[in-house]
């Protein structure tokens, strides 16, 4: 049986085609994808442990296993500090060699051997300088970027799932369910989110998971509104009635017939939800209400920049990363919006 795929493109394929025709958004998507892909391997790029050590004819993998200093001729049985000049020398002399990551600092590594006091300006030792506790700024940016993006993805995914479920139920069943749902969501969205976060952050031990949960719980209303409107429109379409006549269950109708046609606003808002989540995390961190203290975060770096106005490299580097990230997301969002506009052929 010969199958002709012919020229027909699905709605999604045509949308992708339109998306690609917006060069700026398309390139932004690639840049973001590559940057995020790289940041996923942050441990290999920016770490205070060498990737491979060859010491006295034996291979060591410090990334995977802890070795006490005594292994490498040191005096203590504690974990090796590979940045210690003495250890370095040990690893580099004679037959021995060590392969260090590009940026030899982890996000929490304190450079005890820095030449200038903390915060130290950019130098060949620390490309972006160090913060006021002597930690490498570049390392913190790489790890902070990764956490921000993952955090944004997690929040957005949960908001989309929760918002779509609530919106779909409201819009599909309408009537009293819709009425009650709308009032609840109105009351819920008029809660002072920031104060609640401050209160909750002081009750619970702040962690990334808790923040994701809180931002989701207080952030689904907008998404639910859009999805609800689409479902209100969609449930009156003839193809929904014919699906009912076919004997499909409510769940199947919602999932298969209305949902695909209700996705337009959801997809269009994804980049903005993402940048909203990133900004929320950054500002919470900036206020000191966000992630636990040692976690690398752009917001915390900004706060440090505010504390140390003369250390321009702190605020500038964090600012540039943040602006770059948000700009990429805006460009992608713009292209997505155009892609969802079916009038553009």
């Amino acid at each position: 049986m010969s199958r002709h795929k012919s020229t027909s493109m699905g709605a999604a394929a045509r949308a992708w085609h339109r998306f690609k025709s917006n060069r700026r958004g398309y390139i932004s998507l690639w840049i973001l994808a590559i940057l995020f892909g790289i940041s996923l391997f942050a441990e290999v790029i920016s770490n205070d442990k060498p990737l491979i050590v060859s010491y006295q004819g034996e291979l060591y993998f410090p990334l995977l296993k802890n070795y006490p200093e005594t292994h490498f001729g040191g005096d203590f049985v504690t974990e090796t500090d590979y940045l210690d000049p003495f250890i370095r020398e040990q690893l580099m002399t004679g037959e021995n060699w060590a392969l260090y990551p590009l940026n030899p600092y982890n996000f929490n590594t304190i450079n005890y051997f820095a030449r200038s006091p903390n915060p130290a300006a950019p130098s060949d030792q620390n490309f972006f300088g160090t913060d006021d506790r002597g930690r490498d700024v570049l390392a913190r940016l790489i790890y902070g970027f990764r956490i921000s993006v993952i955090f944004a993805f997690a929040v957005t995914a949960m908001i989309v799932v929760l918002g779509m479920m609530i919106g779909a139920i409201q819009g599909y069943f309408g009537g009293r369910i819709d009425l009650v749902g709308q009032r609840i969501s109105e009351i819920w969205s008029s809660m002072p989110k920031l104060y609640l976060l401050i209160i909750l952050a002081s009750i619970f031990h702040p962690s990334l998971g808790l923040l994701i949960l809180l931002l989701t719980v207080f952030g689904w209303m907008g998404m639910a509104d859009y999805v609800r409107a689409e479902f209100l429109k969609g449930r009156n379409m003839d193809y929904v009635l014919s699906a009912r006549a076919l004997g499909l269950s409510n769940g199947a109708i919602m999932r298969r017939h209305i949902m695909p046609n209700a996705m337009t606003p959801v997809i269009t808002f994804l980049p903005f939800e993402l940048s909203g989540a990133i900004l929320a995390l950054t500002s919470l961190d900036f206020l000191g209400l966000g992630v636990p203290p040692s976690t690398p975060s752009i917001g915390e770096l900004l706060a440090q920049g505010k504390e140390n106005l003369d250390a321009w490299w702190l605020s500038l580097s964090a600012f540039l990363v943040l602006v770059g990230l948000l700009m990429l997301l805006s460009f992608i969002g713009e292209a997505l919006r155009e892609a969802m506009d079916t009038r553009k052929g």
Binding site: M1, R3, H4, K5, S6, S8, G10, A11, A12, M237, D238, Y239, L241, S242, A243, R244, A245, L246, G247, L248, S249, A252, R256, H257, P260, N261
Partner: protein
């Protein structure tokens, strides 16, 4: 009659689209209209008939339109060269237009009198008092009762027919020399259609104006127009006197159009055989009543009896036509019978009482009672391929089928409705209206239902396609022994496919009986009115 023509269109071509990427929609059309002549411009959707008419008034979006060649001369003046400002002086005063949809052509926030006075104040510089008197006179002329009161009514307070009358009054306000009527009766019920047509005829004679009527209804042309122009895909294929063209059409397309009036597809003999069988669907005293709620506490202050005590029986293999005008409750009745709409009354399907069943219990029975809707553009999910659309019901009701078997059945179903396997992976928007309706029928047929509710399945289609779809439906019925509940407002269609007919008015059945008998010998006066109006038994 060698006087100069009122309107002369010469070799007109119109193209749409952005510059550089234009598609030609009208090519080399020429015709003339004499003063006082009634010309009908006939063609199917997409034939360019409305585009031609709109070009006369230059009502197209000028950035998207190009008048590639040709001339439009009105009273000897070239219209295509005129500026927008000059055109404004002609629109409404010299050439007026009425549109298909009277619901949307009137502004809902102004009373009709104000809207009617506007052209008078604008073009004739009358003072408001005289203008108001003229408007009352006009309303009287177009047959609006109590024009002194109605003049301050808002559009939503008028019925569809009354609104179309107001539109006509508005068009006639400045006594134009040419009236362009773009499908003026299509959106109206048949009995109203007839009245409006008679009104136009009367006014045309009184005012002595020329009328350019755009329509797809040849029956209407026969009874209204003097001459006819037939258009196909942007080209004018035939023109001449109505009697000459309709009696002996020259062009194959005209012949095809004329032949597309549906002809009887069922025979009376079958009826006797049906009587022997136990009915498939029985409805006793079926009711569907919508409460009217008002006030803060949503108290019920009244009710709309959409379906009011209907008894109905349908036997296996039979087609029961349900006819009625808009608002008569025919669709609501169909939806209630299939339990897609809540109602009262006992409904038995295939020996089971279905009106008391829950939605969940009903689901397995849905396989045997299916629906085909009026609008094939909205009844197919836009983001599903044909294979998914047709296969959805199969996956649900025949879960034991493997993927291969399912595909085989889908292909078989498509074959039955005259589509081929190339189309499996396409999306609905790539098909024409007729093809889409075939897909909708295929979706139903693959389930091998016992009963199919056809809700105006052909009204959205061009007449030549309409005939094909009717033949297909009849063919499938014979092959699979399905029963049809055929809802329509079009009596010609009903005569072609129904064994029995049920006439509804305001939620009640006024008459039912064998199609033949009902058409030749209607008993109820309403049936008679309906028949006269839709078959033009009397007019002219």
């Amino acid at each position: 009659m060698e006087e100069p023509p009122l309107l002369e269109i010469q070799n007109l071509s119109v193209a749409f689209g952005r510059s550089g990427d234009r598609t030609s929609v009208v090519e080399g059309v020429s015709f003339t209209i004499q003063p006082g002549e009634k010309l009908a411009l006939v063609g199917e959707s997409g034939s360019g008939k409305s585009v031609t008419a709109l070009s006369i008034l230059k009502l197209h979006d000028t950035t998207q339109t190009e008048y590639a060649s040709g001339a439009i001369r009105f009273n000897g003046e070239e219209l295509l060269q005129k500026s927008e400002r000059e055109m404004r002086g002609i629109r409404g005063r010299e050439i007026a237009m009425i549109f298909q949809e009277p619901m949307t052509a009137l502004n809902p926030v102004y009373p009709i009198g104000k809207q009617l006075m506007e052209p008078l104040l604008l073009h004739e510089a009358l003072d408001p008092r005289t203008a108001r008197e003229r408007v009352i006179g006009l309303l009287h002329k177009v047959g609006i009762q109590e024009p002194e009161k109605r003049i301050d009514a808002f559009p939503h307070m008028l019925s569809g027919g009354q609104r179309q009358r107001v539109m006509i009054a508005m068009a006639l306000a400045c006594r134009p020399k040419l009236l362009i009527a773009d499908e003026p009766t299509t959106a109206l019920d048949v009995t109203i259609q007839k009245q409006i047509l008679e009104l136009l005829d009367e006014l045309q004679r009184e005012f002595g104006m020329a009328v350019l009527m755009i329509t797809h209804d040849l029956n209407m042309v026969r009874h209204f127009a003097d001459s006819i122009c037939v258009m196909e895909r942007g080209k004018l294929v035939e023109q001449g006197r109505v009697s000459a063209v309709l009696e002996s059409p020259q062009h194959p397309y005209t012949r095809k159009l004329l032949a597309s009036e549906p002809e009887p597809l069922v025979s009376n003999e079958e009826l006797a055989a049906f009587e022997q069988q136990a009915p498939l669907l029985v409805g006793n005293n079926v009711q569907c009543i919508f409460p009217i709620k008002s006030g803060f506490f949503r108290r019920t202050v009244g009710e709309v009896r959409a379906v009011d005590g209907v008894d109905i029986q349908l036997r296996p293999g039979e087609t029961l036509g349900i006819v009625g005008e808009s608002g008569s409750g025919k669709t609501t009745l169909g939806m209630t019978l299939l339990q897609l709409q809540n109602g009262d009354g006992a409904i038995n399907f295939n020996g089971e009482r279905i009106d008391a069943m829950s939605e969940r219990d009903l689901r397995p029975l849905r396989k045997d009672m299916q629906v085909v809707f009026q609008d094939p553009f909205s009844s197919l999910s836009p983001r599903m391929t044909v294979e998914q659309i047709v296969g959805e019901g199969l996956a649900l009701h025949f879960p034991y089928l493997g993927a291969g078997q399912r595909r085989e059945r889908i292909l078989h179903g498509l074959e039955e409705v005259g589509l081929d396997e190339n189309m499996l992976h396409r999306y609905p928007h790539e098909f024409s209206g007729g093809q889409r309706q075939r897909i909708a029928i295929a979706r139903v047929v693959v389930l091998e239902p016992k009963l199919v509710l056809l809700d105006e399945p052909t009204s959205a289609l061009d007449i030549s396609v309409q005939k094909q779809v009717l033949a297909l439906l009849r063919d499938l019925q014979k092959r699979h022994g399905m029963s049809y509940l055929f809802i329509t407002h079009d009596l010609k269609v009903i005569r072609s496919v129904a064994h029995r007919v049920l006439v509804m008015k305001q939620g009640r059945v006024v008459e039912q009986g064998a199609t033949d008998k009902l058409f030749t010998n209607p008993e109820h006066p309403y049936t008679e009115t309906l028949l006269q109006a839709s078959l033009f038994r009397e007019i002219s």
